[in-house]
Amino acid sequence: MSTNITPAERLRDAGLYAPGDAVLSVRDLNVRFNSENGVVHAVRGVDFDLMPGKTLGIVGESGSGKSVTSMAIMGLLPETADITGSVRFKGKELLGLSDKAMCKHRGNDIAMVFQDPLSSLTPVYTVGTQIIEALTVHNPTMSKQAKEARAVDLLRMVGIPSPKDRLKAFPHEFSGGMRQRVMIAIAIANDPRVLIADEPTTALDVTIQAQVLEVLHTAQEETGAAVVMITHDLGVVAGMADDIMVMYAGKPVETGTVEDIYYNPRMPYTLGLLGAVPRVDTATKQSLVPIEGTPPNLALPVTGCSFAARCPLVSDACLHGEPELFPVPGVAVPGVEGQALGHKAACIKANELSNDADAHRIFHAPPKPVSKFDGVARVERDKVLELKDVRKHFPLLKGALIKRRIGTVKAVDGLSFDIREGECVSIVGESGCGKTTTLLEIMEFHPDQVGEVIIGGVSNKVATDHKTKMAMRKEMQMVFQDPTGALDPRFTVYEVLAEPLENLGMPKAAIKKRIMELMKLVGLQPDHVNRFPNQFSGGQRQRIGIARALAVNPKLVVLDEPVSALDVSVQAGVINLLDKLRAELGLSYLMVAHDLSVVRHISDRVAVMYLGKIVETGDVDDVFDNPRHPYTRALLSAIPVPDPNLERTRERIILQGDLPSPLDAPKGCNFATRCPVFAALPAAKQEKCLTLEPPLASEKEGAQDFACFFPDGELDADMLVVHA
């Protein structure tokens, strides 16, 4: 296909359908919304062909129009949106169909898996009813028995144990991962030809994400459906997709096969995105590639290249006319068997970017900052925070009038670790492992706690008067996960930053001076202090949050998932900032994160938590390169890597099931119920895991501590998966 043909010709071409052609053809799709700022052109001319049985990955940041595209295909956009172009399913035009006519296709020919499994199932109906409903709508003649049998089949296919009994279960009886499996079961119930998955794993833990991706893979194999996978995570699609479309500002900016995109990116934006993601499998201590600036405002007409404002290679020619998708020369001819999209990039400089283009050099990534503490041995540095056997148990009560204690949730169960000056310690683990409770125990220290929290040499046991407490608070500040929720929407930036300083009783003039310093420190324009938080982008808001934490000059900053709410390109900038601040100000960080790639990049030490206990802790490189505890091994293997070849060949440990319920917490080793090593052990050795609790200890001096009896045991074959 040449790019010179007119939209009219493109529309006509898509109308001619022959078997073997694309099941879904999208041509010149445009979507406009109204907003307070005028009409927003959210999707601007998307073209793609989806071949049967293939997977197309649509990658982009928030606001790039990837979800809007999928909603437009499904006909799920609100009436107020203006949609033009063509969406053809097997040659039949879908755009402009009435809602009723569209219902024949939705769920039957094209099905969708949504992002949030917690809200996409109706809580008042059983899971079985909801699957059967999907079957009934499109197969009114099917008998009740046949539908039930099919529902059981579907649940088995997506890997739900004892499917027949689970049919009668309600959504709240399932965990998030299980619910997403049910969603997939509903989506594939009628053997759709196209399955659209909109960020299907973003809301899930990494181990569960690995499970669900596996289920999607099976579902695709079983039904032969073509899949459109929408995601912001370059790792997730690397192993799954055949073709990739990178979207930016509502327009595809680069399309091609996975290999084209990952190994030979020709658009500076793609190049930057790939460089902005830290890798979990390498120990390179290099700064990340930051992409400065924000995407253009789509309420205004785009005159030049949409990426020009953020592109380091920008020249005058880029500002005149938006570049079309040009085929990249020197690559296989488009239209070759199995290649739905030739490699195309919307950049007039695509040819200048050679195969070995270095994103770090092009995007001027800053050098890795060096802290004054880096040269000092760890044992010689002061402890800024120390935890000694901290426990937090919640009673589990039942009964309305007279509450009976039926169990105990051991959210934090005997935690001891310390943080030295100038280092970053990270706590990782699945949700429900007690990471957040640990942070709360530290932040809300009080004398009656079980265990000791020592902040800057002062123990919580002596924090009885206001003055001591204030002194301890001053040592330690917090940065929150959601930058929007952490700033009062009614405060200007000045008021936000002044709050902690006023609290210390600083005079007005000094506050003003300090705020100007802080704004410069975190890379914000000082004259923006009069703006409200909603006038900033997510990354800038997080910078304000960091500035507020630094206002009182703390020694320790507690970071609760500091970048998980941010886009990939923005995330890199914030991580680089945190790195810089640590070096310049000699800060220590205590970070909680679920993204192990970020943890590897920023931390010096890491503690892996499982059910309220640390199962492995040590230097980040020791733990990540040579994990000893089977849980750490599983956790690390669950992280997708943005490298298609590696992703297709590497062995993955897929853990069975979810975190055990606190009611039947295991007696011996907490992890035994899901452990791949335990499953492969002979019965005699299993006895040890079930009765004794493994201590947290290291094998040799200087190596990491771990809590497992059989660190080098064989892994159970059932839990290992390799994609050929």
Partner: protein, 320 residues
Amino acid sequence: MTNIIDPIAEIDEARVADQDVVIGKSRIIFRRFMRNRTAVAGLFIFLALFLFSIFGGFLTSWDKDTIDPLNIGMPPSPDHLLGTTQAGIDLLALIVDGTRTSILIGLIVGGLSVLISAVYGCTMAFFGGKVDATMLFILEALIMMPAILVVAVATSGGGGLKDLPSWLLLVVVLLFFSWMGTARLVRSLSMSLMQRDYVKAAKYMGVPSRRIVWRHLVPNIGSLLVLDFTRGITGAILAEVAFSFIGIGIKVPDVSLGVLIGQATGQVSSFPWMFWVPLTVMFLLTGSLAMMNDGLRDAFDPSSSSIGRAKTKTAKKVNK
């Protein structure tokens, strides 16, 4: 807080707002409200009635205490624009007076009850524990109390309140029974606000709780309070009409819309204007407030769909 908002910054702010993305919140709310035609119409009707209740006296040369012996129980005529009562009093003068009383009762009760519920609700949520339980018990007890009996006793001279004018008495009693629902709403809303990250952040910085309530909680429940203000006015007006209608609210010589409607019910067929005119005014009053309320909800609720359409008429035709 306000010391840094100098004129230059404000100009800067406006410039940014004009440019593109950044729009002040008050402007968004205003625009959203203006986009709702019904709400704007409601606002105009309410303002018109308000002006009428103040300056309406100039439309007629009669007042509500003067009897016109030549025109007793006459239908509308050039002399008496809305006719007269069977006692020979000009109906327009009565309506102006009655509307004023009704609006006055509505505004005072609506405004004060919002204030009381905000303070009460925030206090409950903030202190929690035993204070919360006790205050909640009092609140529940008040909800259980039969308001109508208390009104009847109070306005008919029970409890030694004879000296107060009857409308003021009604205001006090209505106020006493109007704030509980909102207080409970404010309590639960503040409780969820207490869980927000920015409140936690302030706590971890060691900001005293009292200051957190004042600076973070109260401003953030503001939009609820504005909505509740208009709702409160409607409620108070309706309650006044209902109580006066059954004869336990406003007592003569005070006049209100409820009194006028109540007096006229007996003679709907013989003196229809005496019944329909005050009823229409009451409907206009409560109706305009209800129309405004809908628009206010749209304006304050960020998730509402009042952002207009992108689809043009021509585009629609192509699609069909």
